[in-house]
């Protein structure tokens, strides 16, 4: 069992490494993508400077906490879209029959598929996340928690993408639903929880788990609480398990399209 996990880990890392090497062929584009993504994220600081000039706190967050919220949002988005970029194209992969190429591989089909390419600009998101942590306040404890929450959050975002994309096995073209859910997660993630009321808040801890990905980590970085920490771990495992379960359940219904496809 342990050897199998070790082998799978090795294959996944190799897949990411080769995808990254492909992207690094053009160095100028590679670095400009990263730098421009960081500048792109930094533009939004202007929005919050203006809002905080009107009010001392927004939705219960101080200015530094907003920066940290942006840091966590960028970090989790970066982890998910860099390492598991293809989970966001999974619905199309299933519908167009491109999954055939991954079925014949000896390792885990889902992991092989979703790690087959990387989004370079997301390195900029991850770096930006760490810069925001430095501005918030860098301590060893904060750094470890931040890294941990970026990983758990990245896993949850990926799992949500896989869960909704897997519905394609049953309902065909569900890209619109999957894309809408992913877009909802990204849009809500950078605004403080306190400005929303009622039903939306329930969504944040269920179908759109932004609460677990972003809001709870902010609370923990401010004031650590072991039971909340365990909740985040538990929910992350739950989302990963559901994603794998649904994908493999659906895979049994998958039929090939005889698509001729060459992966170089």
């Amino acid at each position: 069992m342990l050897t199998e996990v070790k082998n799978q880990w090795k294959v996944t890392m190799l897949s990411i490494k080769y995808a990254l090497q492909r992207e690094m062929l053009n160095k100028v584009t590679f670095f400009s993508n990263i730098i421009f993504m960081m500048l792109n994220n930094a533009c939004f600081i202007v929005q919050w400077i203006i809002l905080y000039s009107l009010k001392n706190e927004v939705g219960g967050y101080s200015f530094k906490q907003i920066l940290l919220l942006w840091g966590i949002a960028a970090g989790t988005f970066g982890v998910s879209h860099f390492f598991f970029k293809e989970s966001y194209e999974l619905s199309e992969t299933i519908n167009t029959g491109k999954l055939d190429a991954f079925l014949i591989q000896p390792k885990n089909v889902l992991l092989s598929c979703i790690t087959s390419s990387v989004e370079v600009s997301c390195i900029g998101d991850m770096i930006y996340g760490w810069i925001m942590l430095f501005i918030y306040g860098f301590t060893l404890k904060n750094a470890l928690l931040f890294a941990f929450f970026c990983i758990t959050g990245g896993f949850i975002l990926t799992s949500v993408a896989v869960i909704f994309a897997s519905l394609s096995f049953w309902f065909g073209r569900v890209e619109i639903v999957a894309n809408t859910i992913n877009s909802l997660m990204t849009n809500f993630a950078t605004y403080p929880e306190g400005i929303f009321k009622g039903f939306v808040k329930i969504l944040f801890y269920t179908i759109l788990p932004i609460g677990i990905v972003n809001f709870l980590p902010i609370q923990l970085l401010k004031d650590f609480n072991f039971s909340t920490f365990l909740i985040i771990i538990g929910v992350t495992i739950l989302f990963i398990a559901v994603a794998f379960f649904l994908f493999y359940k659906g895979l049994k219904r998958y039929s090939s399209s005889n698509l001729m496809n060459v992966r170089v």
């Binding site: 421009f36 993504m37 792109n40 203006i50 400005i195």
Partner: protein
């Protein structure tokens, strides 16, 4: 000119077939308006309170109009298309046609923008009326004045995005420049009126494209005055000429560098 209107018409007819798909794509517009509605409700303790000369309803209408302009533009799609045309060499097929590529890109993209503007415009107006139970008091003539300003804003925006896409002649991927441009428009031009920025920055923003592509039409919608309209029209006229010259300048300089491998 007739050939360009023919391109516009055929693109318009083609996009009409996908009106439903376009409408579904506007879910993110609804989400953004919902977020800003919540945000401004939180910031304005009293909806009638004035912050920098705007009450809560005016602020939300301002965001609704600027977002209509930005969402209907489809700038990312245009920039990506032009980048791909240049990178893949497809532009070679357009160069030898009896039209100018820049004008072709403008009229071709307008075919998409018109459909998007009508759909997202209706959606925005419905959202505004449902959430705010109010509509700015505008006469028919004033509405026409705002629409003219929106049209000029869109043409200027298309020319500027096309210019960014044409940078692909010189560097491989111009998309990162578009990200920056879009964030500049979004953060400085869409979310807040110019009056919300520090006094020292306001004159700079007034001379930037943000004034003509975003602030101008939205300001006219929430608070129409003849003086404002005249000022915005003059600024849009100047920017129209500048963006036209920049776009053609980059295009002609880039075409000289073009080297397409046959295939």
């Amino acid at each position: 000119m007739r050939k360009y209107f023919y391109i516009l018409k055929s693109e318009l007819m083609s996009n009409l077939q996908y009106a439903f798909d376009i409408l579904v794509g506007f879910i993110s517009y609804c989400i953004l308006i919902f977020i800003f509605l919540n945000l401004w409700k939180y910031i304005y303790a009293d909806p009638t309170e004035l912050i920098n000369g705007y009450n809560m309803n005016q602020m939300i209408w301002y965001v609704i109009i600027t977002e209509i302009l930005w969402m209907s533009l489809g700038g990312r799609k245009l920039c990506k298309k032009i980048c791909n045309d240049v990178k893949s060499g497809n532009i070679a097929y357009n160069i030898n046609k009896p039209y100018n590529y820049v004008e072709y890109a403008l009229f071709n993209h307008m075919g998409l923008v018109i459909i998007r503007f009508i759909l997202v415009g209706l959606l925005g107006l419905i959202l505004g009326i449902v959430f705010l139970h109010s509509f700015p008091s505008l006469t028919i003539l004033e509405i026409l004045g705002v629409l003219l300003s929106c049209l000029l804003a869109t043409i200027i925006n298309i020319m500027l995005v096309t210019s960014i896409g044409l940078i692909s002649f010189f560097i491989e991927d111009a998309n990162p420049f578009f990200w920056l441009y879009s964030k500049m428009i979004l953060v400085i031009g869409t979310i807040f009126p110019i009056e919300f920025f520090p006094a020292v920055l306001q004159p700079i923003i007034k001379f930037s494209p943000i004034y003509v592509v975003s602030y101008g039409p939205a300001k006219l919608f929430v608070n129409f005055t003849m003086t404002n309209w005249t000022q915005i029209m003059i600024a849009q006229g100047i920017y129209l000429v500048i963006s036209f010259l920049i776009c053609h300048g980059i295009y002609y300089k880039g075409v000289k560098k073009l080297n397409v491998n046959g295939g």
